[in-house]
Amino acid sequence: MSAGRGYDWQWRLVAAIAAKEWRDRLRNRWVLAVALVFAAFALLIAYFGGAQSGTIGLRSTAATVASLTSLAIYLVPLIALLLGFDAVVGERERGVLDLLISLPIRRAELLVGKYLGLAAALALATLVGFGTALVPLAHAMDGAAMVLYLRFVGSALLLGLAFLSMAVLVSTLAHDRARATGAAIALWFGFVLVFDLSLLGILVASAGRYASSWAPYALLCNPADVFRVINVFGADALRSAFGLGTLLPQGWNAPATLYGAMAAWIVAPLGLALWRFR
């Protein structure tokens, strides 16, 4: 046959797959729906978040971001998992996967195309959703507040990408769609609820004795907690959340560490999926 014997990565095939995923999510209004949800929550929290403490109206950006963070920690992983769990197993169950594999596209290109297309849809929904909320809020923000808010939006996107990566992994491993759904829900429970509770339980049981040495690093093992730490900075907030603070090792929450952990959570599951889906 013709030339091209080496490992030639064909971006145009990746792009064709990604474009289809992207267009599907725009067409079935997935992007619109998620953007609306994000925008609505951001505005509600900005205006009414202080209701518990007796005040209604625009609150400080720091307080808004803190409340948004605790909400996004539940919402964003769920949305990302729902977005991605179907990516491969759905094609398998539909019966299209065999046909796709018979084409001149490599499995890795197929998987990366799927991820990039879904990631683009998720990014659009996140940026448009939280970005829209910024319009009425912006006039009350100074530069520092804007940085806080933008950091929240950016890290929410990273959080979504990490869980999307896990969802795609689940999708390549799962035997059928039902099991993929189950696994996705289990992941959500595990990372969003069970992980923190277990950590807290261990800390309480050990009376915080060994906490300072490993607890901060344990937080890095959960992208949801990394997201929390990125946004609810400072030892005070951590103390109230986990009962630690003063004993934290130096530099464990340096931006490089936190964003590095996030990047690892995006790359590692996808890498595993690529390796399994050969």
Binding site: G4, D8, L13, K20, D24, G95, S102, P104
Partner: protein, 319 residues
């Protein structure tokens, strides 16, 4: 070079000792098969014989456990196989596509993945008779329309090898006719075609030769005429003697070595082995004044097929 055997000149499809097992069950066993350029080959066999699995192994969708598979001289699943894929069209047996896309969008999507020009898609849809429906969502397509769309998909990029798993499944007679017209055209252009089917009567006149699978094995292959000859099947004779000559006819046939069976209406039925046909003619000539009517039914390809099926299936059902 005999049909289906691997000669010295390079074949388009070369399978040698190909085997596949799922758990403890061998679903394809020791299949040797070669197809040359421009040949149209029919792959037939009972449900579960392993036809679809064989197609999937040829495409590297399923990895073979044993044997060697080469298409256009390139090992399946090898590094260089991507280029070969560009020259292959595949129609899976139960074609499923994207419900939310239109026929045209579906075809354009697959065209991009096959390095084919998406601009040619509309013409291709016309060719399979879907021109009028190309902007409708596949969700609204009938089974036959989906099958046609799947066939159009297989034709993308001017393939030099077509692997079609039950391509006429769900098509109406007119569409089946149109399908074989397209195949003839492709064959003239040098495209090799392997197609599977359960309908022998339909494909026997359309293919150059047949490969018959039973329980994972290739039990027979060859041109339709030679398969019929090698099957050595008896024809079926039916005689209606005159009322007053029944006993005489029965005795004469028995004496000639036939084993007639008397029916309620007084007619006689019996098998005639190929080697005994002339002997029958002689007996009948002698009995001519005692007979009202007779027929001799030749074995059909279905009989040939069932015969090969049984031969392949009986010795060992399991591995």
């Amino acid at each position: 070079m005999q049909t289906g055997e691997c000669g010295l000149n390079a074949a388009v499809v070369e399978l040698a000792g190909v085997g596949k097992r799922y758990g403890a069950t061998a679903v394809v066993r020791n299949v040797d098969l070669c197809c040359g350029k421009g040949e149209v080959v029919g792959l037939v066999g009972h449900n579960g014989a392993g036809k679809s699995t064989l197609f999937k192994m040829m495409l590297g969708i399923v990895a073979a456990d044993e044997g060697e598979l080469r298409l256009f001289g390139e090992p399946v699943r090898g590094r260089g196989f991507r280029d070969v894929r560009r020259a292959i069209g595949y129609l899976p047996e139960s074609i499923a596509l994207y419900d939310n896309l239109s026929g045209l969008e579906t075809l354009q999507f697959f065209a991009r993945l096959k390095f084919a020009d998406p601009a040619g898609c509309a013409a291709l849809l016309d060719r399979v008779g879907l021109g009028h429906a190309m902007r409708r969502a596949v969700r609204e397509y009938s089974k036959g329309m989906r099958q046609r769309l799947g066939f159009a998909q297989a034709l993308l990029g001017a393939p030099r090898l077509l692997l079609l798993d039950e391509p006429t499944n769900g098509l109406d007679p007119q569409a089946i006719h149109a399908f074989y017209d397209v195949l003839d055209e492709l064959k003239r252009g040098g495209t090799t075609v392997i197609l599977s089917s359960h309908l022998l009567a339909e494909i026997q006149s359309r293919v150059d030769w047949l490969a018959i699978m039973a329980s994972g094995r290739l039990v027979a292959r060859g041109a339709v005429t030679s398969l019929t000859a090698t099957a050595d099947l008896p024809a079926l004779a039916w005689l209606l003697p005159r009322d007053d000559a029944q006993a005489r006819v029965f005795e004469a046939l028995s004496a000639a070595g036939f084993v007639p069976l008397r029916e309620d209406d007084g007619s006689l039925r019996f098998a005639v082995a190929p080697a005994r046909r002339i002997a029958l003619l002689r007996t009948l000539a002698w009995l001519a004044d005692a007979l009202i009517d007779y027929t001799l039914t030749e074995p059909t390809l279905e009989d040939v097929f069932l015969r090969h099926q049984r031969a392949g299936a009986l010795p060992e059902q399991r591995a």
